[in-house]
């Protein structure tokens, strides 16, 4: 449902909002379900509801929903606006952002690239990892305003059209994820790790940092160390390491899982 579109709630839906979010009912009847209502309903839905409520909530939650309209981001509504032009996945983008807006929020909320994930939003989990000017960085701790003229690559730009990046294929083969929330960050990070190794960059576990050999051959320990900024709460680490090792070494790595009949 478009925000501000005149709402057409079914009787059950109206009752649902009446019961669960009475303080918001009037607003919903006049303006429709907006993003804040949606999130609130999600939260309540997570808390457990009666069966009929759940069924109705599912209807509302699964409806096409436009999070924010462009009018919310008209220059007049933006505080301390900064004009920004930069490239995202090869395409030139021009927009005005609030000086506080992070690159992550800009990608997700303004450019509709929701692949990069907001995990901790404090630079501790790596789910928001993107590649800026060839280097992996945390988009949650990068101000969009500071990206003027830069070139950003996100998970949406890693594949070549329909052809997956070898790291992406290897993640699928080796089951390098469970819930998938950290995966975009893991993959962006892994793609950059390949380049760092090619450039001969050392890590904290490199035996002798004075060696100048380049490229560097990564052991599994090296891969773990280099990927330590990307947390995976499901614990898919061994599979992630296997996937990266296979692409890095060019040699098949045994899968750590198999189907059993």
């Amino acid at each position: 449902m478009e925000e501000n579109e005149s709402p057409q709630l079914t009787k059950d839906e109206k009752k649902l909002f009446e019961d669960l979010m009475p303080e918001d009912l009037n607003e919903i009847l006049v303006h429709g379900v907006n993003r804040r209502h949606f999130l609130k309903l999600m939260t309540l839905a997570g808390g457990g509801m009666l069966a009929w409520q759940s069924a109705v909530a599912e209807q509302v939650l699964t409806r096409p929903f436009s999070a924010l309209t462009s009018s919310d981001f008209s220059p007049a509504n933006i505080e301390n606006g900064v004009n920004l032009s930069f490239k995202v996945n090869g395409a030139a983008k021009k927009l005005m952002v609030d000086s506080r807006m992070t690159l992550l929020d800009t990608l997700r909320e303004r450019l509709e690239l929701t692949g990069s994930k907001k995990g901790c939003d404090h630079g501790q989990c790596g789910a928001c990892t993107v590649i800026v000017d060839g280097r992996r960085v945390l988009s949650c701790l990068t101000l969009a305003a500071s990206c003027e003229g830069r070139s950003v690559k996100t998970i949406e730009g890693i594949a070549q059209g329909n052809e997956l990046h070898p790291i992406q294929s290897a993640f699928i083969k080796h089951d390098g994820f469970q819930c998938g929330f950290c995966t975009p960050g893991q993959i962006c990070s892994a793609v950059a790790v390949m380049d760092e190794a090619k450039n001969g960059e050392v890590s904290c576990v490199t035996e002798d940092v004075r060696q100048t050999a380049s490229p560097i051959k990564l052991s599994n320990e090296e891969i773990s160390e280099r990927m330590s900024g990307n947390l995976c709460r499901c614990g898919a680490y061994p599979n992630i390491v296997a996937a990266i090792q296979e692409v890095h070494s060019g040699k098949e790595v045994a899968q750590t899982w198999e189907f059993r009949g």
Binding site: R100, V137, C204
Partner: protein, 335 residues
């Protein structure tokens, strides 16, 4: 996050002027610590002056002056670039190891060398605006003193503050006798010994460093030395990677035959600044590089430790870490 004006500085002196003109302005470099603290409402600047595009990223040999033959690292160069520069890897592997022991690949790609020095403590009471903290809000008290202080200081703390300084890079820089070059709004330059750059908390824990508002770090200079063959950065932490130090030790030795000609030892995770173990260094000069001598030196240094309720373990950990770091150093980084 509170609203702020985003501005750009066109050159170094202009940047210093812009900062000096606004007491509530801050420089934005890597932003990895500052933006996090702004999200937490710990830092509340009303202006961020983006200095990332200033030409202060060079790493080069110093061709004149007191540090001739040493290496200069640009204040706005990235940590990754500093760690991997051939001049650093060859001549100051201790610094490479220390930088790479800190944070994650992503953060090191963002963080600058000057910004690394200006990191603020990760004390959880400092981060939580609902808690007392003299560093964040002078006069409000110290939550950690009687609270959860497992990660906190054992040296040099005061009744006002028991926080530790978090950088790994700065610990190696302290051991390597680095010098910080800064410039002010009038374009004047001065140098500060890294060992004097950070402060002990005393009565003013809100001041982390001796940098004045309006000064910008232009470079960090490393004097030439003979430690490259025998140095090691040991970091002990709760996880194998991507965690702050419980205790870290930067150790560097220069031998004269089988005797130690010079020793440098600095510790991280134990004080409000990189802690140079001057006593231990002094005891090692002229001695043979044996485990027994390392232990005597370590024990002499750690004898002055004043642990808090939950970090008594850091004393013995510090002892053993100094010994192990020296052993690794004497063996060229191998145990």
């Amino acid at each position: 996050m509170r609203p702020f004006k985003y501005t750009n500085a066109k050159d170094v002196t202009a940047a210093a002027k812009m900062l000096a003109a606004n007491p509530d302005a801050k420089f934005l470099a890597g932003g990895t610590n500052l933006l996090d603290l702004m999200k937490e409402d710990v830092e509340q600047p009303n202006e961020l002056i983006d200095i990332t595009r200033l030409a202060l990223a060079d790493i080069k040999l110093i061709s004149s002056g007191t540090n001739k033959g040493g290496t200069s690292i640009g204040g706005l160069g990235k940590n990754t670039a500093a760690a991997n520069h051939p001049l650093i890897r060859q001549n100051y592997p201790l610094l490479t190891q220390a930088i790479l022991a800190g944070a994650s690949g992503q953060i090191r790609n963002m963080a600058t060398n000057g910004g690394n020095l200006l990191q603020r403590t990760r004390c959880s009471y400092f981060f939580d605006v609902a808690m007392p903290c003299n560093k964040r809000e002078p006069g409000s008290g110290c939550g950690a003193m009687e609270g959860i202080n497992r990660m906190h200081a054992i040296f040099g703390w005061s009744e006002k503050c028991v926080a530790v300084y978090p950088s790994d890079m700065a610990v190696a820089l302290a051991a390597l006798d680095a010098v910080v070059k800064v410039r002010n709004a009038s374009g004047q330059e001065r140098t500060i010994l890294l060992a004097d750059f950070h402060r002990l908390p005393g009565d003013t824990p809100e001041k982390d460093t001796n940098l004045s508002h309006g000064e910008i770090i232009t470079a960090i200079e490393l004097p030439k030395n003979n430690f490259a063959d025998k140095s090691y950065y040991l970091k002990v932490r709760d996880r194998a990677s991507y965690a702050f130090a419980l205790v870290s030790v930067a150790a560097a030795l220069e031998m004269n035959g089988n005797k130690i000609a010079q020793a440098r030892i600095a510790m991280g995770g134990v004080a409000h600044k990189p802690w140079r173990a001057f006593q231990a260094e002094k005891m090692l000069v002229g001695k043979e590089a044996t485990e027994a001598n390392f232990r005597l030196a370590a024990e002499a240094e750690m004898a002055d430790a004043k642990p808090l309720e939950h970090n008594k373990f850091k004393v013995e950990l510090g002892n053993r870490s100094i010994v192990l770091a020296l052993q690794m150093a004497i063996n060229g980084g191998k145990s």
